[in-house]
């Protein structure tokens, strides 16, 4: 028996076929699905080996209850576990109010789970305190896109459009390693005569297929964009009629970048004037130019402004809305896109509606069968929520779904302390992750091949993962957990556990919203190889390309927003003289809770990548032990000496516990994104 589905990991959501070869086989066999257009049968080693986690010996198959006195876990039945959780939640709510209960979701959860989680928090718990790890993913791009275009969909065009572009500028994306099959589109773009630019402090394997590589100082992508815009203007390349007809706010931006002449940009970014000219010349001498930002540009305390600065460049050149051109964001997590559209974000309701919009509240409350007034308002954002845990004003109980916080949160030592201060920590996971190990109650839940649900990939394409095998006995879906707790907590409305029923309800709740799924069904997704939102009716074909005629703002015009480079929250100094930046490696995914348990994936642990000049300065050679320290923590790992990184920068992959003890928790004022991508560090031989 085979099932067409999608990979459990990143936002590319590669199509794959799972073969359940039957009797005695513990694992599913992964086979290509050549027809799916995003990856056309290609997969990386994470995808090929993803079947390895089903039936893994470390899978949890029974709820665990921790004895706070001894710290020991003991197995309990599902009813007992849910009774304990619901009873404790009710008691805390009784004593401290509903906002003492908090929910933390994930960008890997299906649309159905994200939707149910948001509804569960607002209706069954009655709390405003729900957010998710997507804040640490693409929230800066989301915030920027909403402000500039009035809508946030990662890519406003299908990924394959890349192949027809003349110039593709990747700002802070290492897609050849983080979503390898996507690189095939880049290669085809180059075969068609297109040119690729990679902007990254590291010359990555993505940069190996680039025509121009620009390696700025970490945290200065914004200044680089201001410098490019300066040259767009000074060279007379502004698309004046587009700016006049389709945008607003241009004058202030134009005057501001007069102060960002090339030599000033060079001093700030470390990009020499000739390199800056080469970049600007490439972008101004072609019509079909695409700028794609990713975490490298976005995970900064000025991340959303950085994205806005690149959007300004695109608008000045008249790109958004032009065929095979414009700005887009390469989202990160599997359902980074859908996960933020349906209500697990503290300020949003389904359909990308804002929770403080009375009409939005009215509509969603109607679908849910509750009073609009009963819905709580806006809650804390992800990191602020974690910081408040266990404080006098903060939540006392936290439910975690699909996130391994103590590995993935910035300034992780501090976050772990906050988790310890809770009266109740409940974690739903497949395995005993580092976060689950701290929980009072651990609930074993299904993983991707064992359940059905939809995801929305980086293109805004809604896709379907069909269940391919039965879950191990003792394991239940997050949907069962939500329904079971809602019932025990006396929810005013029942919660379904059937994904297709929930998806239909989600469609009604999103109807009329920006991310309108009302016309999408499981059947359509299967026959059409995914459906692009907005899709308001069953007859509507879906919307692969946005902005051809108008933007989603109130007046239909895109907004230029005047943004200024502020620089990293923690500049380098004599004590901490190098920049630390973090990221992913090909063979691992996020906190590694899944990939580190796949035998075929190399798990060498963290390493500290540095340039030979820096290695010589501290007297180490490749492979030697190095201690890296920041104001928040330290880590010892082997040096990986490479000429491909800036000599003033070190890179450490974040998949392993300890790396995020180093990172900085300064937040972007608009998106609340932490500054994962740059802080001041010191390295020395261990």
């Amino acid at each position: 028996m085979t099932t067409k589905t999608h990979c459990p990991y990143c936002s590319l959501q590669c199509g794959m076929t799972l073969a359940n070869t039957g009797a005695g086989r513990r694992t599913l066999e992964v086979q290509p699905w050549a027809e799916f257009p995003v990856n056309q049968g290609a997969l990386c080693r994470k995808g090929w080996t993803s079947g390895g986690l089903t039936g893994h010996r470390e899978r949890l198959t029974t709820p665990l209850l921790r004895d706070r006195a001894t710290g020991e876990f003991r197995s309990v039945g599902w009813d007992d576990a849910l009774d304990v959780v619901a009873g404790t939640l009710a008691a805390i709510r009784e004593e401290h109010g509903a906002d003492a209960l908090a929910v933390f979701g994930g960008g890997g959860l299906t649309n159905e789970k994200s939707y149910q989680l948001g509804k569960f928090a607002r209706v069954a718990l009655g709390t405003s305190q729900i957010d998710y790890n997507g804040r640490w993913c693409m929230s800066s791009a989301a915030s920027a896109a909403n402000r500039a275009f009035g809508v946030d969909r990662g890519l406003p065009f299908p990924l394959a459009d890349v192949e027809q572009a003349e110039v593709v500028v990747l700002v802070g994306s290492n897609l050849a390693e983080t979503m390898p099959p996507a690189a095939r589109h880049l290669d085809r773009c180059r075969e068609n005569g297109g040119e690729v630019v990679v902007i990254d402090p590291r010359r990555t394997s993505t940069a190996d297929r680039a025509d121009l590589v620009v390696q700025p100082v970490p945290g200065t992508d914004l200044a680089l964009a201001l410098g490019v815009l300066h040259l767009v203007i000074s060279g007379g390349h502004v698309d004046e009629s587009y700016v006049a007809e389709r945008t607003s706010g241009w004058e202030a931006v134009r005057d501001h970048v007069a102060a960002w002449w090339p030599e000033r940009v060079e001093r700030v970014t470390g990009i020499s004037v000739p390199e800056l000219h080469a970049l600007a010349d490439l972008m101004t001498s072609h019509r079909r130019v695409m700028v794609l930002t990713a975490r490298g540009a976005e995970q900064h305390a000025q991340g959303s402004d950085t994205v806005l600065a690149w959007i300004n460049v695109c608008l000045a050149l008249g790109l958004p809305g032009r065929e095979h051109a414009g700005w887009g964001c390469l989202t990160g997590q599997g359902n980074g896109q859908g996960g933020r559209e349906h209500g697990q974000k503290s300020d949003q309701l389904p359909g990308y509606r804002m929770i403080d919009d009375p009409a939005a509240r009215q509509h969603v409350a109607g679908v849910w069968g509750v009073e609009a007034d009963s819905l709580p308002g806006k809650g804390r954002s992800a990191y602020e929520l974690l910081e408040a845990l266990g404080t006098p004003e903060g939540p006392k109980a936290l439910l975690v779904h699909g996130s391994n916080i103590v590995v993935s949160a910035p300034n992780a030592t501090h976050v772990a302390e906050r988790l310890e201060a809770l009266d109740l920590l409940v974690v739903c996971d497949l395995v005993l992750s580092e976060t689950a190990a701290m929980a009072d109650v651990v609930l074993p839940v299904t993983q991707w091949a064992e359940e059905t649900g939809t995801m929305t990939n980086l293109e805004g394409r809604v896709i379907l993962r069909r269940q391919a095998r039965r879950a191990p006995s003792g394991v239940r879906s997050d949907l069962d957990v939500i329904a079971g707790l809602a019932e025990r907590l006396g929810s005013p409305v029942p919660f379904s556990t059937d994904p297709e029923t929930i998806f239909a309800e989600l469609g009604r709740a999103s109807s009329g919203g920006k991310a309108d799924y009302a016309g999408i069904t499981y059947e359509r997704i299967e026959t059409e190889l995914g459906v692009f939102w907005p899709c308001p009716t069953p007859e509507h074909p879906g919307t692969p390309r946005l902005f051809a005629d108008a933007f989603a703002t109130s007046d239909g015009r895109a907004r230029f927003l005047d943004v200024e480079h502020r620089g990293p929250a923690e500049p380098c100094d004599g004590e901490f003289p190098v920049h630390l930046t973090t990221g992913r490696v090909l063979a691992q995914y996020q906190s590694g809770a899944q990939t580190r348990r796949i035998r075929e994936l190399p798990d060498g642990g963290a390493f500290i990548e540095m340039h030979p000049l820096l290695a010589a300065r501290i007297g180490v050679a490749d492979g030697m032990r190095v201690t890296i320290s920041t104001r928040r923590g330290e880590l010892t790992a082997p040096a990986r000496v490479a000429t491909t990184i800036r000599p003033d920068t070190v890179f450490v992959p974040f998949h392993w516990l300890g790396v995020n003890r180093l990172t900085h928790d300064a937040l972007d004022p608009a998106s609340r994104m932490p500054e994962f991508k740059v802080c001041a560090a010191r390295v020395e031989a261990a």
Binding site: L43, R190, D255, W261, A278, D281, A587
Partner: protein, 505 residues
């Protein structure tokens, strides 16, 4: 930039005992780079007082350091405007352009304009900039005090526009007086515009204040190769008018040469504009003396920033220090407690085909010298290193590492013993070796060269190892490993990119 305003801060109280005044009245004299930055920072910091800016030039604030780019043609004059008058109005800043302050009356606390009106202040910021120096050349200034009609200064947008107006039809030959940064930029700009240009510099080399004679000589030679002759160690002494109207005039040099010229541009430096301060009885040396609060020791209500100011004995004449002073003073006035402690300066020559960066003072700064010189290739790099820190540098002709060296200089990074030397040498690529069997060739599927070699064909390798089935980047390598001709050849290496625009700053 994000300093919060704290109205309780002492700095915020109106001085002079007028505590009943609700809002501090702040007057800024000058509307150049320093003043504009200062006002922007006041706005960003939420300064609660009332701000009046008085500018002599009638045009909105513009980026003065791009004037040579406008002259060269890389920048349209409209692309250098910094802030529109509407911006000032939107932020409640009163802007008075095209007028001049005649006197500062410290006793009454006001300034008098040329039209006789008085503007009262509780606090005064002098950002009066610098005045171009007139070299002692006979015939330069006519009896009525005006410049000879063929002679141009190059300080303001008006100067630039006047110069542009005579190009190129009326000017085939130009002489630039002064071989400093501005002189070389103007000379290159004129040359790019098709004007035959010569430079006269009184010192022994060009950029003599910024670079060593060896570097200056290399730079002068590069200029000559670009068609601009440089006369060093020569002073212009006299202008000789042509007997016929419209004919070229002669520039008499002290070495006997006479250079024919249709126009002459003066770029022989400037001096701080201190007349107002001197008239007001403030302490003035070369510039208006200020302390670490950028305030005059004579009168703490009065500040000076930018080219007109002298801090710790230094007058700078560059934008970066002027802007740092503007930021510090604005943040202080918005309640932050910080001092100005001097600036690190990076000066860059903006001229096509001439690459020069000067960090700090590489001529006078004490330290160990690490130098790489290649006069044949027109390259000269000098780092001044003290206790492992680059404290000054001059890079001529080779800016391939300018970004990195500037970062190290700006941050005071302590480098390793070999590092300054290594920074000046080109990075060497590792030699290509045959792939060992245990080398990973396909990262997507985790396949070694040996595993691919063990297969008979690419198709077999794909089937057995899944090599090439991810990002596809290893297809060519794998094809060769199994002895197959790559499906598609790698693209031809590109020619070095041609710059699309004909000229650039």
């Amino acid at each position: 930039m994000n300093a919060m305003c704290d109205p309780s801060n002492d700095d915020m109280r109106p001085l002079g005992g007028r505590s009943a005044t609700p809002r501090e009245r702040l007057v800024v004299v000058g509307h150049g780079m320093a003043a504009t930055r200062f006002v922007e920072q006041l706005v960003a910091g939420g300064y609660p007082g009332h701000v009046t800016v008085i500018g002599e030039e009638p045009v909105p604030a513009y980026n003065r350091i791009l004037l040579s780019a406008v002259l060269e043609g890389t920048h349209d004059a409209s692309a250098i405007r910094l802030r529109s008058p509407e911006w000032y109005a939107e932020h409640g800043v009163e802007l008075r352009l095209g007028t001049r302050v005649l006197t500062v009356d410290r006793e009454h606390g006001d300034v008098m304009l040329v039209d006789g009106t008085c503007v009262p202040f509780d606090r005064l910021v002098l950002a009066t900039g610098a005045i171009p120096t007139l070299p002692p050349i006979r015939g330069l200034v006519r009896p009525d005090g005006s410049l000879h009609p063929r002679v141009h200064a190059f300080r303001s947008l008006a100067d630039c526009e006047r110069l542009l107006a005579v190009l190129p039809v009326d000017a085939a030959r130009a002489v630039v007086i002064g071989g400093g940064l501005l002189g070389l930029q103007v000379a290159r700009a004129l040359s790019v515009r098709g004007v035959a240009t010569e430079v006269v510099e009184g010192g022994d080399t060009v950029l003599s204040r910024q670079v060593t004679p060896a570097a200056g000589t290399i730079l002068a030679r590069s200029l000559t190769q670009l068609g601009t002759t440089v006369y060093t160690g020569a002073r212009a002494t006299k202008l000789i008018d042509h007997p016929e109207e419209g004919g070229p005039i002669g520039v008499q040099l002290d070495n006997g040469f006479v250079l024919d010229a249709d126009l002459i541009v003066l770029t022989a430096g400037g001096r701080p504009s201190v007349a107002l301060a001197r008239g007001a009885g403030l302490q003035v040396r070369r510039g208006i003396v200020v302390d670490e609060h950028l305030a005059s020791p004579t009168d703490p209500r009065i500040h000076a920033i930018g080219d007109c100011a002298q801090h710790a004995g230094q007058v700078t004449g560059f934008v970066p220090p002027a802007w740092e002073q503007a930021v510090v003073l604005a943040q202080r006035l918005c309640g932050a407690d910080l001092d100005y402690r001097g600036s690190r300066n990076v000066a860059r020559l903006r001229a096509t085909d001439l690459e020069v960066a000067v960090l700090g003072d590489p001529v006078a700064e004490p330290g160990e010298i690490v130098e790489v010189s290649n006069p044949v290739a027109g390259k000269h790099s000098r780092l001044v290193v003290r206790d492992g820190v680059i404290v000054a540098a001059a890079l001529v002709g080779d800016l391939s590492r300018v970004g990195l060296i500037t970062q190290a200089y700006d941050r005071g990074t302590v480098l390793g013993v070999r590092e300054p030397g290594d920074l000046l040498l080109p990075e060497t690529a590792a030699p290509l070796a045959p792939l060992p069997d245990d080398a990973e060739v396909c990262a997507c599927a985790g396949v070694t060269a040996g595993a691919v070699r063990a297969c008979g064909s690419l198709a077999e390798a794909q089937e057995r190892t899944r090599a090439t089935t991810g990002c596809g980047g290893c297809t060519q390598v794998c094809s060769r490993l199994v002895g197959e001709v790559p499906v598609r050849e790698p693209r031809e290496p590109r020619e070095p990119r041609e710059v699309v625009s004909p000229v650039r700053s």
